[in-house]
């Protein structure tokens, strides 16, 4: 059975039909419509006939909502932080984004210490919740100190909110790093509005074919999870282009340049995966802590692209020597033949590399927590199993799982060998041999 890979970008909606051997059988490019489901349906129609078991979708819809400040919920934030942090939320955000998103802030007692014990006793959040609701917030974000180690307090507060308005829990969205995780949770809460309507309309347009969404690291989540955690999908676009590009060229290591209609992204792929920046990822001026691809972007594409600027982005990545440079995306078709020096190439189907990347998407499971590494081997083994189980729970074939990211960041200057550990496993979907 075949897979349909779709990428809904700012300018175009691209679709490819891919068989079990990952060969592209057909491809379509259709202009993206205001109501994204219309372009999506048209692209699907033009791709027929297909015998597809699934549609894998990557989209910049969430990114665009943030960049345009359109269709965002007003968020009420509850900080579970008994020490009462001095730094306010959304500090350093572009002012208009902060004003669009942050509807109210309440700080209550509670939170944990790095060793898992309580920071202070948890206070009753009932009044705090009422005050936020009175301010007219439409979505709640709950962020507790060290909640990635223990999400119980956040869950308790969520129960008090009940079913009244959508809730986003930081412990289910991000890893260690309060400000970045808070930023991600705030954006998630804000994005629920547009992504709910957007994804639901796409689901309808897909009809009986199951629809899965690619997330920031290029792996798949199902629709229900994408609607609950839209912030996880924001940088799937570049990841798909980079991975699609190298697979089309049959390479493991390359610089990939994705030239779109309005913007150009440059990234480095090593061992088949885009190199990531965990601590410095950001979107629209807001710091996040997702492992997102380390992308350099120029806000120019198509015919407006200044080749000299592009050279400046490519040059530093070539320091190590001869690294092939792949050009993908619709805008790459406009590059003059003279620009292609040694090592520069356009792989076959380069204009739909992003959709192809989506079609290849795998399933990943991540653990991001703080542990004591006293019994290092035992503890790490336990975390490996946890990450693997998460991948399997999301639909990965256990036989295909492999470790794709491991970071151990120790807490210096204190005993007990405390460290932040990030483990990520990726595998093929069940029933998908390649």
């Amino acid at each position: 059975m075949n897979i349909i890979g779709i990428d809904i970008g700012g300018t175009n909606t691209d679709a490819v039909l891919v068989n079990k051997e990952n060969i592209i059988l057909s491809s379509v490019k259709y202009p993206t419509t205001e109501d994204i489901s219309v372009g999506f349906s048209e692209a699907l129609k033009q791709l027929q006939p297909y015998d597809a078991e699934s549609i894998f979708l990557g989209t910049t819809h969430a990114t665009n909502a943030i960049l345009k400040r359109k269709g965002l919920y007003r968020v009420g934030l509850i900080r579970i932080a008994g020490q009462r942090p001095l730094l306010p939320p959304a500090y350093g955000w572009p002012r208009d984004l902060r004003e669009a998103v942050l509807g109210g802030v309440e700080t209550i007692d509670g939170g944990f210490e790095c060793h898992g014990g309580p920071l202070t006793p948890l206070s009753n959040a009932k009044d705090a919740i009422e005050r936020l609701l009175e301010k007219g917030v439409e979505s709640i974000a709950i962020v507790g100190v060290f909640s990635p180690i223990n999400g119980e307090q956040e869950k308790q507060i969520a129960e008090l909110v009940g079913q009244r308005i959508p809730i986003s829990l930081s412990s289910e969205i991000g890893g260690i790093g309060f400000i970045e995780r808070e930023n991600s949770t705030l954006l998630n809460a804000a994005l629920k509005k547009v992504m709910q309507t957007g994804f639901t309309s796409l689901q309808k347009a897909a009809g009986s074919i199951p629809l899965k969404i690619t997330q920031n690291d290029g792996s798949l989540i199902d629709m229900a999870r994408a609607i609950e955690y839209p912030v996880l999908t924001i940088s799937a676009g570049p990841t798909n282009s980079f991975m699609g590009g190298v697979r089309l060229a049959g390479l493991d290591h390359a610089i990939v340049v994705d030239i779109g209609g309005t913007s150009t992204d440059v990234g480095l792929v090593r061992k088949g995966f885009p190199i990531r920046s965990v601590n410095q990822s950001h979107i629209g001026g807001v710091m996040l802590n997702f492992p997102m691809p380390d992308v350099c972007s120029i806000a120019m594409g198509g015919r407006d692209l200044v080749l000299k600027q592009l050279d400046q982005l490519i040059a530093p990545l070539q320091k190590k020597g001869e690294v092939p440079v792949l050009f993908v995306g619709g805008g790459s078709a406009l590059l003059p033949a003279s620009y292609f020096k040694k090592g520069y190439q356009k792989p076959p189907y380069f204009t739909v590399a992003n959709a192809y990347g989506a079609a290849l998407a795998e399933i990943s499971g991540t653990v991001d927590t703080v542990v004591s590494l006293r019994n290092r081997e035992e503890v790490l083994h336990g975390l490996y199993e946890m990450a693997q189980q998460r991948a399997v729970d999301l639909g990965a074939n256990p036989a295909t799982l492999r470790l794709i990211d491991q970071q151990i960041i120790p807490y210096s200057y204190v005993p007990n060998q405390m460290a932040r550990v990030v483990i990520r496993y990726s595998g093929k979907r069940v029933n998908r041999p390649h």
Binding site: C114, K319, Q417
Partner: protein, 318 residues
């Protein structure tokens, strides 16, 4: 006297990380909080040692424990509010210019309006409290005051600095592995000769470390022992295979049997792609780096200095 403004903070962050010699923690969060406070309360006054009055109470400040804790358990401000109320300094000083601690005195100075001395006690970063110019000059380390983000406070009086380090380290763990400590309090008349002068200015200046080699990080071998990130990493470089040893701070770089640079000289590892200095927590396989060095602050080049922070003090036999 000069004024430190928000525009200076990025340069300070960069300089502090370079002088940190791989340790001291990432200054990012501290820089952000300092900026926030300066936006509320204005620029900070920086004074030199000769501007001190004899009866000034000069209070060195340091964050103690894992800098990473403060990225999750954000500081509340009670740390310095309570400390200043108890100790009543007239002048503040960051005990350590290397890493995040470059900002510690600034955090306390912003709202209080107290001046900050252009000096520190180390001239770089080192992991333990007794590794300081005040220790070399036989100053009294205590009374010392520790305050955590919840406002818990502890006053310590010990017989010597090493004992202070031991007790304070244990107390820091009980305080969730991070707290603010004031120690080596001095009268204005006692300061000259006991501190490393000009540290803030130095961190703000255009530092020019000497280039030793360019290469790629291969083979990282590290573990966390007694709270210190210990390990070695091999750099496949244009000068051959270089081994770099560290214990939070980078301590020694060797090529075969030849010592290229050793503590107390400052070792800088620059990420070639971003052009920024790497702390030892950020090391990962495949990074392209430049290995560079700056000379040790003068105080450490004496026999006593070497005894305290030379290779032997870290268990390294040359």
């Amino acid at each position: 006297m000069r004024q430190l403004t928000i525009q200076d903070l990025d340069a300070l962050s960069l300089g502090a990380t370079i002088l940190g010699s791989g340790g001291g923690g990432d200054p990012d969060n501290a820089r952000m909080l300092t900026q926030y406070l300066m936006e509320q309360y204005g620029p900070i006054n920086i004074i030199t040692v000769d501007e001190l009055k004899p009866d000034d109470l000069v209070v060195p400040l340091s964050m103690m424990g894992a800098p990473l804790i403060n990225r999750e358990r954000l500081m509340s401000g009670k740390e310095w509010d309570i400390l200043l109320e108890r100790v009543k300094p007239t002048v503040l000083m960051s005990a350590e210019i290397g890493g995040a601690n470059a900002f510690t005195a600034l955090l306390a100075a912003a709202k209080s309006g107290l001046p900050v001395l252009d000096a520190d006690m180390i001239g770089r970063a080192f992991p333990e409290l007794q590794m300081s110019s005040c220790y070399l000059n036989h100053r009294r380390a205590t009374p010392a005051v520790m305050v955590d983000c919840l406002g818990n406070r502890l006053v310590l009086e010990t017989t010597d600095a090493k004992t202070l380090e031991n007790i304070a380290r244990a107390a820091t763990v009980a305080m969730g592995s991070s707290c603010l400590i004031a120690f080596y309090l001095m009268r204005g008349s006692e300061v000259a000769g006991s501190v490393v002068e000009g540290s803030l200015s130095k961190a703000l200046s255009h530092l020019e470390p000497k280039m030793l080699a360019h290469g790629t990080l291969v083979d990282i071998d590290q573990e966390v022992q007694a709270g210190f990130l210990q390990g070695s990493v091999t750099i496949q470089s244009d000068q051959g295979k270089i081994q770099l040893f560290y214990q939070n701070e980078y301590l020694l770089a060797k090529r075969g049997g030849e010592v290229l640079v050793a503590t107390p000289d400052i070792i800088v590892l620059m990420d070639a792609n971003s052009g920024t200095p790497l702390t030892s927590e950020r090391l990962s396989y495949g990074l392209q780096v430049s290995l560079m060095t700056l000379p040790a602050p003068e105080i450490w080049k004496t026999a006593e200095g070497m005894q305290l922070v030379g290779p032997a003090a870290f268990g390294i036999n040359l």
